[in-house]
Symmetry: C2
Subunit: 300 residues, 2 copies
């Protein structure tokens, strides 16, 4: 039930692994949800009161604020501007919140085109994965004008725990790319360190625990490091999606004239994982690509 | 004063930035300290009751357990086996604890030579820097036999907060190298991410704070990330010492047949910092080498 705020007409387009639990949390908070997904609306969301719509345009006609949560930049473009897309149903005063993780530069252009229709655009990519989506503990990085951010903030607070207004439209996506650089290179750090220890004949799990007490402490050493020593590579965040995010980082960096040497190396190792058929494994499987270079595992 | 344990005759050789506060903590805990340092014994340690010795050999004659805390592998070798070195004063049943951060393979050979004299050898490198040494919050990674570890553990507990017995002699140094790999690549991760954000026109400090809420969270993002955005490069841990540790990692990796691509890249950037005259700055100054590649700072 909505506490301290009125129920709103909220749209949600894209009901995959992330979108589904996010939409469920908005329903649980008492909002009226208008839903569309290429693969159909999951029965659980209909049972909880969600209203199915034949296309994104219809979602935009019915809702005041429309969320999108789709895999990649071309998907956002299609949902917004393709046939039956959101812009066909948008009227001045509405708002679009893109929670997908996509190209910051493309996002700035989407924001301009939506603003030209008299609507707000907020990029609000998330970190925290399926678990964070379900438990509403996502970290959300928003790019928006102050007014647009204020308007959608109560909805973002239903979905996540740490909500940061990073800057103008596009800034949320830039922060998300930065996030993915940090997470990938933290995984790379832990993989190089544990492989070094294992090959030197020292128990990598004891090393991992010893390192948690000092400056090496990180959430990745805690979570992904444990997955490496336990050989538990069920996702979690998939190699192939993280690789896409690093590709955004490298394309962006090239356009900006920035060299990201370790991001490039991590991207190559994710490439190697995908080439080896491991694209659907957890990101921590990056260690297996390093191990193939060296010829022996961290553990097992 | 010693609580629940008898006062012991403890030696300390090497009274630099780290050794001095560690020796002071052992004195404060009520032990009798026998001290030697190439640059003389600091007056504060004498005032606190420390006994100066003319050389390391004399320290070994007077103490039951002797700590060494010197910059690099050749220094440990000199203090142990050089003229006036520890082995001249060691007699069966004594113990040597090397808290320096040095080569794991050399450490295994030091341990064997000391064991051949009927003495224990413990490698016990530390993480946590000058502040951790002063506050006795160091993380200590020990390599030793079970009996030798049990014997020196009460002394290590005076010096640090997280004490881990990682494995046999040399394992502590291997864990320390792993620690330095993780810390260096966490710094590299934060540097690449914040530089990317800054060059994309987004406030890197806001990005840093947004990232602390999710999987990107690390002690390095917290501490070294803040130093990068504040341009506060007073050490902390020095570039030139961390570079030495990464050189140990790369030499060890080569001997073990392990490829560490990002450790190699971070080492090259630390090299660039030293070449630029910044070797005495904090490790977080690694970001300045990336910036020179890109031609613009993270902030400032």
């Amino acid at each position: 039930m909505v506490t301290g705020a009125a129920a709103r007409d909220v749209g949600f387009v894209g009901l995959g692994i992330m979108g589904r639990p996010m939409a469920a949390n908005l329903l649980r908070a008492g909002h009226r949800l208008h839903l569309h997904s290429r693969s159909g609306v999951p029965p659980a969301l209909l049972a909880a009161g969600g209203v199915p719509c034949p296309d994104a345009a219809e979602v935009a006609r019915r809702a005041e604020v429309v969320f999108t949560m789709v895999p990649a930049t071309p998907d956002v473009e299609r949902v917004l501007f393709g046939p039956g897309g959101l812009v066909e149903g948008l009227s001045p005063g509405k708002a679009v919140v893109d929670a997908s993780s996509v190209d910051p530069a493309a996002t700035r252009s989407f924001a301009e085109r939506v603003a030209a229709l008299g609507c707000d655009f907020v990029d609000a990519p998330v970190s925290g994965g399926e678990l964070g989506a379900r438990d509403a503990t996502l970290s959300i990085m928003a790019g928006a004008t102050d007014a647009a951010f204020a308007r959608v903030r109560p909805l973002l607070e239903v979905l996540g725990k740490t909500i940061t207004h990073v800057g103008p439209p596009g800034a949320g996506q830039t922060a998300k790319v930065a996030n993915q650089i940090v997470v990938a290179l933290h995984i790379q750090a832990v993989a190089e360190a544990l492989l070094f220890a294992a090959r030197a004949g020292v128990d990598p799990e004891r090393v991992r625990r010893a390192l948690l007490g000092g400056f090496a402490a990180s959430r990745v050493l805690e979570v992904h490091g444990a997955r490496m020593t336990a050989r538990a590579f069920a996702p979690g965040g998939r190699v192939e999606l993280h690789r896409k995010d690093l590709a955004l980082a490298l394309e962006g960096a090239r356009a900006l004239g920035v060299a990201l040497p370790c991001t490039a190396a991590a991207h190559a190792l994710f490439d190697a994982c995908v080439a080896h058929g491991d694209g659907a494994l957890d990101q921590s499987a990056l260690v297996t690509a390093l191990e193939r270079l060296a010829g022996a595992p961290v553990a097992g």
